[in-house]
Subunit: 220 residues, 2 copies
């Protein structure tokens, strides 16, 4: 029984979905055909009502006594996230971090495919980092248009982050994965997802230096 329920998915809901997917994959491997929201909730220290809401946001409700069909739920989440079709992304900044990310084949599990890299450094342009070709940054708008790419992974120096973001937005990029330490300004409709490695490292080094058990603000 699949019912389409009109709910707007919240950002915390979307963030939890990969965790559910991981459990569903485990259950599939164990030949389990159904799973209850109570079981999912227990595994991840969530409230069952929260889990049911998350799944309802994807148009899936459970069957009484049986729970959720594992295969159906997996397909629904994959489709909801667009992970059954690979999303193509541009890597902007072919330095150390960009190169590290380009070499991370784990992204393929999440349907992310880096199709081209960009840099302003002439010594990098024309080379390949982990098989991904590096183009001059000014070619980006043209390639974004031709390849219909809407995701940009930002791994360039902080000083160039905002001006490059403005250029990306102009070029039709609507989702930016920001690995720079800069708090980027982007117009409404463009999502910026920040991974601040420097801030994370500050927390770790400080806690080790002082042996102070700092309180964790975000969920560990």
């Amino acid at each position: 029984m699949i019912e389409k329920i009109l709910t707007t998915p919240s950002l915390p809901t979307v963030r939890r979905l990969p965790t559910y997917l991981r459990l569903l994959k485990e259950l599939q491997d164990e030949k389990q055909h159904y799973v209850s929201s109570t079981y999912i909730a227990e595994r991840f220290q969530l409230e069952p009502i929260q889990v049911r809401k998350d799944l309802a946001a994807m148009g899936i409700v459970g069957q009484p006594r049986l729970g959720f069909a594992v295969t159906e739920l997996t397909c629904a989440i994959m489709q909801f996230l667009g992970w059954n079709n690979a999303s193509e992304a541009f890597l902007i900044g072919a330095g150390n971090l960009g190169s590290a990310l380009a070499g991370y084949s784990g992204f393929a599990d999440y349907g992310l495919n880096i199709v081209a890299a960009f840099d302003v450094d002439k010594s990098k342009i024309g080379t390949r980092i982990h098989d991904i070709k590096v183009f001059p940054l000014q070619k980006l708008p043209d390639l974004a248009l031709r390849l219909h790419v809407h995701i940009g992974i930002l791994t360039l120096p902080a000083a160039a982050a905002q001006t490059t973001t403005d250029m990306l937005v102009q070029a039709g990029i609507t989702a930016i994965w920001n690995f720079t330490p800069v708090k980027l300004m982007a117009p409404k409709g463009v999502i910026v997802e920040k991974v601040d490695l420097a801030a994370s490292l500050a927390v770790l080094s400080r806690s080790v230096k002082e042996k102070l058990p700092l309180k964790i603000a975000q969920g560990a």
Copy 2:
């Protein structure tokens, strides 16, 4: 004028420090000797009182009319974070992501030095990833003790994350950088800093798939 003020640094304060450091470095390059909390606040869309509190937590107060001495402030933050002395860290999991992080020389800027990698995969043990030697996981407790390493970077498969964390804690690791999608349990006194790449990617793919401008919960 340096006054030692006894305040407990909050986690958000610690997370902002690398941003301040970056600005201070810019100012040093521009031969600016003083900076006001108002200027810092404006640059990062913060409240001036917040900036003053952050800096006071490190025992630094500004001088009337002049503001904060750039060099002094830089040293104080570096010392506060322990970034003037390199922190040594272990990498646990020598797979794709581990290898990508091992190759990221940017960590050196933040005083992080990966001294050894660990894995259970026999084909990896004894090899080197970006010049870092891969040891069998069971050697970790002994090496942690001998090398006084307290930071562990977790880049192994989700299924092994919790049991390995328990082992790390036993071995005296007090700061864990968790790149796995697992919500780890650790005793009080051990800090777990999570970087959830899968959750970030879920947000990006979903926003591109639906062209829905999802609200951003955390600061972009």
